[in-house]
Amino acid sequence: MKRLQQLLAGIVLSGLGTVVHADYTLNMPVGVTELSRETYGLHMMVIYICAAIGLVVFGAMFYSIYAFRKEKHPVPATFHENSKIEILWTIIPFLILIAMVYPATDLTIKHYDTENAEMTIKITGYQWRWRYDYVDEGFGFMSSLKADSNAARQIDSGISPRKVHNYLQAVDHPLVIPVNTKIRFLMTSADVIHAWWVPEFGWKRDAIPGFITDAWASIDKVGIYHGACAELCGRDHGFMPIVVDVRSKEDYQAWLAEKKLILEQDNAQADRVWSKNELMVKGKDIYLSACAGCHQPNGEGIKGSFPAIKASPVATGDKDSHIELVLEGKGAMTGFAEALSPVELAAVITYQRNAFENNSGDLVQPAKIKEWLEDLGYDE
């Protein structure tokens, strides 16, 4: 009830043009970057200007309705023009606009200043997940909606979203970056247009297939920040959240070292022979995060939009054409050659060929994928 009162109070206040300052979800976040703070400042400045104009304009309007109502003012005046006042109310708004444009221009220029960044993160949009590449470190990973949210958000799942921790705001692998470091973000996409938006950073930027856009942030507070894809990108546009884990510089370095170690171990794994069980277990994981968005967790696809994996001619037919399709993509489906590691690719293809009663019995080994990648010219 108190909550509702707060809400109503907030609406009434802002309806009057009075701005609510509480960091309750009524206003834009001040955020944790220089850009976000200045954007917030500009936002508030324009609100105050509008509130002042609103007071005068609506004041005059409601005063007229009250004071010049017919009972009180039965004989209307006959004037219908006045050049002086008409010129005045053309010029004054123009001057107000010029006052607004100055800080806005400065801030726009600042947004575009991506020079002298200390590190670069490349962000690639996929339907419907993000990939983060640490360009200077030579590694990257996919970041998808966390499994518990994904289970709860299915229609008629029977799971209450309120019971899921951080419903639709949690991912399996957050982007980890250091605090107080100027980071240049490069945005692109593997399929359709997406947009990467973390409100606390103060901007969003489109990720456009075949092009690279950029933006920057230097975050001055350690913490977890949430965001989402902001450009309609198809069926699961609402289900590709962003989580950024901003750590102290030392913690970031430690995370980086650990990440690299795991990566090395994974690479070593790519050369050994994997058992069917190992491949199926890992394959199921990858399938759920990389494929199930379209082809569905049960492999049955969606009629008219996404083909089934179950009993499909590809997954039950020739092994090589299956591998080629997954690596290179086809039509609306993007290729996964660069998005997944050889182990992950081998596992997921094996899984597709044996799960959903496909039971082909085929195994695809990581070494085989590595050969394919070399033939296709991907540098691992």
Partner: protein, 542 residues
């Protein structure tokens, strides 16, 4: 049918409408065609409204309860397309047909047969668009903007959507040509351009705007079609194209489209406010110039819809400056309306209520318009619910409130019967409350970080979404009162005088005609003194 071989004979025999239902198929009468447009628009308002209510029902609480996400995307897409092209634009064409000949003292529209054709083309285009719901893969789901690559990704509906857009465009362009030709050639002697009612002026400018930008939209969707089915790469980077090129082409049409909706509504409000203030419009000529400048500026601001695509800094700044400039002529309009009311003698019948409601809410939408025009701040607002709130404050208010106002304003003239004032006021207040309850919370949702076009959301957005959904149902259902009131008026409303509103005979030619007007009006042009009486001419000489 009207004989064109002997116009003098034609003047003599006063024929009525064709008998039976065929009247509505073959009619070339501007009043009949106006009615057809308005009925079609009302029907589409309910179709588009049903889509909106399904969307709001799904968003009532977090989690997916009712629809598949892909179908949800089809609903948001079709809601916009149907509302813009099926409901709002045809409603204004309906008013243009009914009122422009009566306002300028002309017997009919200049090109009556084309008039009939443009209406029926519109109906088929609308049905073609709606038919995509029943196709494999469903209706378009990439948003009404149809951005590639998403819009052509595996979509079976693209050829139908594109053909439908072509037909809609043909219909609108034929309608626009008709309006321009009528206004420029058929004015009664003495009705000079600067004496025309402002509604006529706004439509003249809107018609030119339509002719300028619709072909660009038609070209852009044709390029989508060839990209999807004939192997071209206009918007495909892999083939040397650029997806953002489509956005430039689309918004070159899409932004003026906003003013195509809003300019005629400015015209309606400029017609209604003086009548109920019992005072002629303040600043008539500055209103005309403001309309012209808004139309011109609307064509050089399109990329403010693309502040996040990473265009060059110079582009970002240019489009910010140009966009902000629109605030000046728009402000002039609002100030003029208020100056019209100033020292008037005001009564608040329903047409005036909706007009004042329009001025109030549209100005709020203008304020958020100033905010989203600020390029660096738009990097936060863009594609969030803040934008959804902003454009509903301008487009729902701009596209429906003046239409409701004008319907109540002229319905007594058209039918000869008075509507039920109490029901009409109830309609206004429920619409006003429902509208604000729906869209005010969406500002906060957007600022708090909720992206638009999502079927499900994080828990912290739940309360405001619930409020918004409740508001939407109030807003939607209260439109049934409107329909009931119209039917009641036609069937059993009290008879009205020719003037209908106190002093209206000094406010427009139409109020000097009988209520209801005969099937053919102004077959002989009105006297010049009558024209001077209904314009502010004499008072200028004061």
């Amino acid at each position: 049918m009207v004989s064109v071989t002997n116009p003098i004979d034609d003047h003599e025999h006063h024929h009525g409408p064709a008998k039976g239902w065929m009247r509505w198929i073959v009619t070339t009468n501007h009043k009949d065609i106006g009615t057809l447009y308005l009925v079609f628009a009302l029907a589409m308002l309910f179709v588009g409204g049903m889509f909106a209510l399904t969307i709001r029902a799904e968003l009532f609480r977090p989690g997916l309860q009712l629809v598949d996400p892909e179908f949800f995307n089809s609903l948001t897409t079709m809601h916009a397309l149907i509302m813009v092209f099926g409901a709002v634009m045809p409603a204004f064409v309906g008013f243009a047909n009914w009122m422009i000949p009566m306002m300028i003292g002309a017997p009919d529209m200049a090109l009556p047969r084309m008039n009939n054709m443009s209406f029926w083309v519109l109906v088929f285009a609308g049905l073609l668009l709606l038919s995509t719901f029943f196709m494999e893969g469903g209706a378009p789901a990439a948003g009404w903007t149809l951005y590639p690559p998403l819009s052509i990704q595996g979509a079976h509906n693209i050829p139908f959507v594109v053909f439908s857009v072509h037909l809609l465009g043909i219909s609108s362009i034929m309608g626009s040509i008709n309006i321009i030709v009528t206004i420029l050639n058929m004015r009664a002697p003495g009705m000079t351009l600067m004496k025309m009612p402002l509604f006529v002026w706004t439509w003249l400018i809107t018609a030119f705007l339509l002719i300028s930008v619709l072909p660009v939209f038609a070209a852009a969707v044709t390029m989508l079609l060839t990209d999807a089915h004939f192997g071209t790469s206009f918007f495909n980077a892999a083939g040397g194209g650029d997806p953002v090129l489509y956005q430039h082409l689309f918004w070159f049409f899409g932004h003026p489209e906003v003013y195509i909706i809003v300019l005629p509504s400015f015209g309606l409000v400029s017609t209604i406010v003086p009548t109920f203030s019992r005072k002629h419009l303040f600043g008539y000529s500055s209103m005309v110039y403001a309309t012209g400048s808004i139309a011109f500026l609307s064509m050089i601001v399109w990329a403010h819809h693309q502040f996040t695509v990473g265009m060059p800094l110079a582009g970002e700044l240019f489009f910010m400056y140009a966009t902000l400039l629109i605030a000046v002529p728009t402000g002039v309009k609002v100030f003029n309306w208020i100056a019209t009311m100033w020292q008037g003698s005001i009564t608040l019948e329903t047409p005036m209520l909706f007009s004042v409601g329009f001025i109030f809410l549209f100005t709020l939408g203008g304020f958020t318009g100033l905010m989203v025009a600020m390029a660096p701040a738009d990097l936060q607002y863009h594609d969030s619910y803040f934008v959804v709130a902003h454009f509903h404050y301008t487009l729902v208010v701009g596209g429906t409130f003046p239409v409701f106002a004008a319907t109540y304003y002229w319905l007594p003239k058209w039918t000869g019967h008075m509507y039920d004032e109490n029901l009409a006021k109830l309609h206004f207040w429920l619409s006003f409350i429902g509208f604000n309850l729906t869209f005010m919370p969406q500002h906060f949702l957007g600022l708090a970080g909720m992206p638009r076009r999502i079927p499900d959301y994080a828990i912290q957005f739940a309360d405001f979404n619930m409020m918004s959904s409740i508001g939407a149902f109030i807003l939607g259902l209260s439109q049934l009162i409107f329909v009931y009131n119209i039917i009641k008026t036609i069937r059993s409303g009290d008879p009205v005088s020719d003037e209908v509103w106190e002093g209206a005979e000094n406010m427009g030619l139409e109020w000097n005609l009988p209520s209801p007007p005969p099937y053919h009006t102004f077959q002989t042009p009105p006297d010049a003194y009558l024209i001077d009486k209904v314009t502010a001419t004499e008072v200028t000489m004061r």
